[in-house]
């Protein structure tokens, strides 16, 4: 096997089908960029989940004086200290509860001030507008229902809130976007593979003279097929290179330069996660087109 001969054949082939090669490169690049992006998004979501689920709790908000007038759940008046004692001891008896914190109205006011110090709403707020609450950390965050049924509707309890619900919506949204990205990726990949099949067909046709002679003089099947497969692999690899550039660029410009400054609360994925995805993207970019070419050769090139 003479490498130089094969290489020159590949060069000729890629140039001959320049437009087709471009199409393959672009569609492979886009599909792999989407693929890498959705992998990273999944990592981002799961790291966010870990981070937030660790912090979220079930909250039992207690009625204050203002609620007693406005809220139907608090029609029996503001919470009394006996009711609070009762809730606390009941919580203590539940073994799904890991820890219970009590947040007084004053503390709630302070936290609120910290969190929304720029908001004009915070300035007009007074401590007695805030609610007292029990913040409960569960051993298993999924067991929220137990707390809800036990304490909702009890005298002095305004509401039981699972903070997970709020995040769950966000994560569902991100998950949906991820599925959509994967769907588009799948379509692009199909387009890329069909393009490759077509490219192989065209170049097998334009090289039928050479191939006929190669077969007659006894060139091995591998020798005949190698240029086609390598062509597809090289086009795919170039596409994967672009995809990698897009992913790295996306991490740098979109996340580091833009999102990380806009949303400092969120802990974004780091470079290590991004870089570990690149070999996978390159490998897929190399192997998928090569396999597509191989399959196409079975059909269009009798050896």
């Amino acid at each position: 096997m003479r490498a130089q001969f094969v290489l020159s054949e590949i060069g000729v082939g890629l140039r001959r089908n320049l437009t087709m090669t471009f199409a393959v490169v672009i569609s492979v690049a886009l599909s792999l960029a989407l693929f890498g992006g959705s992998l990273l998004m999944r990592d981002q979501v799961s790291s966010m989940k870990g981070y937030w689920y660790d912090k979220v709790q079930v909250s039992i908000f207690l009625c204050n004086k203002a609620d007693a007038e406005a809220d139907a759940n608090c029609s029996k008046g503001a919470v009394t200290s006996e009711q609070k004692q009762q809730i606390k001891s009941d919580l203590g008896k539940l073994d799904i509860v890991e820890q219970v914190y009590y947040e007084s109205a004053d503390q709630a006011y302070k936290h609120y001030k910290e969190q929304f110090k720029d908001s004009p709403l915070a300035a007009s707020l007074t401590p007695d507008q805030m609610q007292e609450s029990y913040r409960i950390k569960l051993k298993d965050p999924e067991k929220y229902k137990v707390i809800d049924t036990a304490f909702s509707g009890r005298a002095g309890v305004q509401s039981v809130e699972d903070q997970r619900d709020v995040l769950e919506n966000l994560f569902n949204l991100l998950g949906g976007m991820n599925v959509a990205a994967l769907g588009v990726m799948g379509l692009m990949l199909v387009v890329a593979l069909l393009l490759i099949v077509n490219t192989v067909r065209v170049s097998a046709f334009s090289r039928r003279r050479e191939i006929g002679i190669m077969r007659l003089v006894g060139a091995s099947g591998f020798y005949i097929q190698a240029p086609f497969i390598m062509e597809a692999a090289i086009a795919g690899l170039i596409g994967a290179g672009f995809a990698g550039t897009l992913i790295v660029g996306g991490k740098y410009f979109l996340i580091d330069q833009w999102l990380a400054e806009k949303i400092p609360l969120v802990n974004f994925i780091g470079w290590d996660v991004v870089l570990t995805k690149l070999p996978l993207v390159l490998a897929i970019g190399l192997l998928m087109p090569a396999m597509a070419a191989f399959v196409a050769l079975r059909k269009y090139l009798r050896v």
């Binding site: 003279r209 006929g212 002679i213 003089v217 006894g218 060139a219 091995s220 099947g221 020798y223 050896v303």
Partner: protein
């Protein structure tokens, strides 16, 4: 060298067999003409030898191998011991004469040193010494066929298959090509040549195999073309 035992070939979707119950043997070093009208089965006969097709019944042995049992990936190895020449030359128009011949060696992985040595040698043998750098389009038909023969012979095959090699050439040029094939035959290479050229067959007085509607109707040592066309 070649042995056909009761070989029949039916192409898919066709009821009439292209070859029917053909049995014959070609010994090493023979020169055999294969004659018969169009559609008599000559091409099928050659395609079976090259294992472009497999026979439907019977057995084809080439170079001592049963082609039905030869697995696909061993076919290239088998073909390296065969040379093939066609009516339409089948040269690569964008390669020079030398490159065309070298191509047959490159694609089976011969070393560059070997190619550089054998290409001028074989071109000299076919009478094209010094025309290495010419393009096939600049050559006459007879010269192009000589290039094709050089390419078929450069790997020193044991068997040369020629499918109407003089079909596109005038009588005078054809004689030159036949002399060349005869010379190759004298080096010990078996030659099987399908032809419609009555004069050539009559002049050469070699073994003649005639096919008619797929049947072997004549196998004659030192034969002539025949009585009817």
């Amino acid at each position: 060298m070649i042995r056909f035992d009761n070989v029949s070939k039916v192409y898919p979707k066709q009821t009439r067999p292209a070859l029917r119950d053909v049995s014959l043997e070609v010994e090493k070093g023979e020169f055999v003409f294969l004659v018969g009208s169009s559609g008599s089965g000559k091409s099928t006969f050659l395609r079976l030898i090259l294992r472009e097709e497999r026979c439907s019944q019977g057995q084809v042995h080439v170079l001592g191998k049963d082609l039905a049992r030869l697995s696909n990936w061993k076919v290239p190895q088998m073909r390296r011991q065969l040379g093939t020449v066609f009516q339409d030359f089948r040269l690569l128009p964008n390669k020079t004469v030398g490159e065309n011949v070298a191509f047959a060696q490159e694609v089976i992985g011969k070393s560059r040193g070997e190619i550089r040595k054998s290409v001028p040698q074989v071109l000299e043998l076919v009478g094209l010494g010094g025309k290495e750098e010419r393009m096939p389009g600049e050559l006459s038909g007879g010269e192009q066929q000589r290039v094709a023969i050089a390419r078929a012979f450069v790997n020193r095959p044991k068997l040369l298959i020629a499918d109407e090699p003089t079909g596109n050439l005038d009588p005078q040029t054809s004689v030159g090509i036949m002399k060349l094939l005869d010379r190759i035959n004298r080096t010990g290479t078996t030659v099987v040549m399908a032809t419609h050229d009555q004069n050539i067959v009559d002049q050469m007085r070699k073994r003649v195999i005639e096919l008619e509607k797929g049947r072997l109707v004549r196998d004659q040592a030192r034969g002539v073309y025949g009585y009817q066309h």
